[in-house]
Symmetry: C2
Subunit: 520 residues, 2 copies
């Protein structure tokens, strides 16, 4: 069934050097062996992408949208073959993967709608005024695709943030050809999804260079991809170390390019006093549920909880302890991730002033054991280790002396994907001051919820100041993600015959800003 090959501009390619995926739960090698792409194949894929780029960019938007919808249909069509392979490679349960597949095809279809909506083109028309001194020219703007995009598949969302995930969907929606570096933890999943894209490319009669998939276990391949002169931008979700390395490669190119890396976040959650007093137990249970979802392998995992020390917080911690004792050990995505989590937990537990609150069940070495620690506000503030991400189902509850300490801890934290307030009306006045700090530290602020769900909508922001992402000016989830792969171009005194259709006089139906006024 699986080929074990790389997909280069529509062609499946084998190689002498291969690697195997392993079953996440056992570490046993899975068939088939997968070809490792060569540096020459990176260059070939990028050259094909560059050649296809003008054609793909010029495709009528309706056809670009049809392409994304067809990719979604093809992924749906992979049925249980896909689910079984992802389960084996990721250790994630079937229900979660069904949900993740729905998210993956849902975001492809949402971007198809977005393409057709057209407002992302930022169309602007300023009419000439020959009577002005100096004469005012006719100037018209639109946004165009930035060029071929390199996408790095993420291990923790083998569907929704991998081969046909959010970065690929938004780059294709922007009109950019895509070269994916598949994550070595799930090459079979990658191949199945790439096959679905390749079928859609062929069926819509696009050049093969619109999409390529390269597999490798070596970081050198990723570096070669980012350094290829034909690549115009990079999308990445993964570790801080990995993201920083890609940022450096991109900055050191003869022609530097933007990197959108989503890297590291502990997603602080603040339990405001009135809410905590009323619902300590309920909050404790919901916290553990969010923390342990998917073995804690979410970028938006609640890694730090802040509350005021006292009876209510003790009740909260008691509920956490009780709830944790019910949490089974869960297989983690890879052995490396399980090892890193165990090491990180060990380190945290040994830091001064850190005490264990509770533990989940212990499993194999490939499992993550749920665990929650606690520390005082001063201990937390004094030691950067306590606020570092430890990817997995581990978290720390910070017992602050007062809200002033909560504020000062939040203000000193690194950039975050999310920040959360649990509150009720009596808390609002104090919450407003905390919210103002959160706005400067995070991309998304939640009220009375848990950060682990990231809805794919128009208003969603999955981004945030460094190191949450490399570039807090954007989002990698939701329709605004398309803007990462666009750049503006202006046309001055261009005759209608040569203007792009949607910038012509009279052409309507898309949001445009004409002489300063927005309208359709």
């Amino acid at each position: 069934m699986l080929r074990g090959k790389n997909l280069i501009a529509g062609e499946w390619r084998t190689a002498d050097e291969t690697f195997r995926a392993v079953e996440a739960a056992t570490g046993e090698p899975l068939d088939p062996p997968f070809a490792c792409a060569s540096a020459a194949e990176v260059a070939e894929a990028c050259a094909a992408a560059a050649e296809a780029q003008p054609h793909f960019a010029a495709l009528p938007l309706e056809r670009r949208a049809a392409f994304l919808r067809l990719v979604a249909d093809k992924i749906d069509g992979l049925g249980t073959i896909l689910t079984r392979r992802v389960m084996a490679e990721s250790g994630l349960p079937e229900m979660r993967l069904d949900g993740e597949r729905a998210r993956t095809v849902g975001q492809l279809r949402l971007f198809a709608e977005e393409i057709e909506n057209g407002a992302w083109q930022a169309l602007r028309i300023d009419h000439a005024d020959p009577s002005r001194t100096p004469p005012k020219p006719d100037v018209r703007m639109r946004k165009i695709p930035i060029g071929p995009v390199a996408v790095f598949g993420a291990s923790n969302f083998p569907l929704a943030f991998s081969v046909a995930g959010g970065d690929t969907a938004s780059a294709l929606a922007a009109g950019c050809c895509v070269v994916v570096k598949g994550h070595p933890a799930h090459p079979g999943t990658s191949e199945l999804v790439a096959g679905a894209i390749a079928e859609a490319v062929a069926q819509i009669d696009l050049p093969g260079g619109v999409f390529s998939l390269l597999n490798s276990t070596s970081n050198a391949l990723g570096e070669a991809l980012v350094r290829d002169p034909r690549i115009a931008a990079v999308g990445f979700t993964g570790s801080r170390g990995g993201g920083l390395a890609l940022m450096q490669h991109a900055a050191n190119r003869p022609v530097p390019i933007p990197v959108y890396a989503e890297m590291s976040s502990v997603n602080p959650v603040v339990l405001m006093p009135h809410r905590l007093a009323r619902a300590a137990e309920e909050l404790g249970k919901a916290y553990v549920a969010s923390l342990t979802l998917g073995a804690g392998q979410f970028c938006t995992n609640p890694g730090v909880v802040l509350g005021i020390a006292g009876d209510a917080l003790d009740t909260f911690l008691g509920a956490v302890r009780g709830e944790l004792s019910q949490v089974p050990a869960q297989t983690m995505l890879t052995g490396n991730i399980a090892d890193a989590y165990a090491t990180g937990s060990q380190r945290l537990s040994g830091e001064a002033g850190v005490e264990l609150v509770g533990l989940g069940a212990e499993g194999s070495a490939r499992c993550g054991r749920a665990q929650v620690y606690t520390a005082s506000g001063s201990a937390f503030a004094a030691n950067r280790v306590l606020s570092e991400e430890n990817f997995g189902p581990g978290s720390i509850v910070v017992q602050c002396t007062d809200l002033a300490e909560v504020r000062s801890i939040l203000a000193a934290m690194e950039g975050q994907l999310t920040a959360t307030l649990h509150m009720e009306e009596a808390d609002y006045e104090d919450a407003a001051a905390i919210l103002a700090i959160m706005e400067n530290r995070a991309g998304r602020i939640l009220a009375n919820g848990w950060p682990t769900g990231v809805d794919v909508t128009h208003a969603m922001v999955h981004g945030g100041p460094f190191p949450a992402t490399s570039d807090g000016r954007s989002t990698s989830v939701g329709t605004l993600a398309i803007d990462r792969f666009l750049r503006p171009v202006a046309y001055q005194n261009m005759p209608d015959a040569l203007l792009p259709a949607r910038l012509r006089e009279g052409d309507a139906g898309t949001l445009r800003r004409i002489d300063g006024e927005y309208g359709c």
Copy 2:
């Protein structure tokens, strides 16, 4: 009259170490001496900016707009004192500077309107749907200021791209405090304009940290500014070397930040055959006028002209030669710029296959001598030196064998701020293929004009792929420039009481995208 001091958060500060501006035309030192800011003062200005930032960001938009308008009024109010000082420091003529001042205050007032328009906030609301599985949350987005911005004054626009120029205006409009590193060629001009801003800051009752001006002749000061942890973004217009250095400093910070550097462009102009045949002489004259405007010291100077070798192009070159002979020597902005231009011209004239077309009048060593060279398409394509920017009134006309050679030369060029087509209807078919190449190489494409005018409008793009700018995803002229200094934040299930006013249910009057639909 002039203090010779730095402005740090509302306070004028002196120093032991000083430098003097020189009269551009003569090199004679001008009074008074100017204090060199220290590293400690950089830190002080940045700390004050960070402290003022939340206050300035939270200012009602109407007051932020009023502040920009007041800055414009104060600059207008400086009258001829300002003009005389800029003339002395820059060597630019009065009429040009009157125009540049009108542009400067005009863009401040345009950004004031833009602030009030509010669409730049990218307001989006997605309503909840509790019946969906999983329940859909209420998510609302807006863009907020990125934080304090460091602006580097440009020498070639001592008003419009210096202390209160485009970068400062767009950063303030976005709600970001600004720390300006003044250009050492015009410290008097900088002080006068900074004084106008300081008066407006005081009059609107803003914290002094909203704006600071630091002077120095040392690059170390600029580096310290870019490396200061409180700076969130950088705006720069200047040399490629200078821009690249700032990009490296920003990328190597513990927290990397975006740099918007506008650096280097030769702005190719293509003379299409039918148009050239009909208007060779007229085009030649207009070319020389554009080339020598302001002693050629525009980022959008037409540095490379492409045409098909033949009688019409010979006529064009004849007109260029004749026109050049009428061009007087013009004082350049600084002695360094005049020296670099002379050296660059010398180098170009010595390259293989390069021939002189014509020269303007010779002046002092501080003047730029207008000069146009010519080369064959193959000579141009073979030697990268011929397509490098030589800042000043020099340019090269490339005699191509056919339009295929024009296309291949354009496709191989580095990123540009502008690209221009001179054409008439019979040229349109061939022009369309060239336009497609230009879209991928430039931020603005002109038809039948010259690139040296950059109108400040909504649709303007003054940007383009590297090395025209460090970041082709943006513009430094026109209202879209505000977007450089913003980042999106989402609010999930946030009660109305805590939402920003314009994201509340019912609040209207600003363009918002509600459940996917745009409306006011």
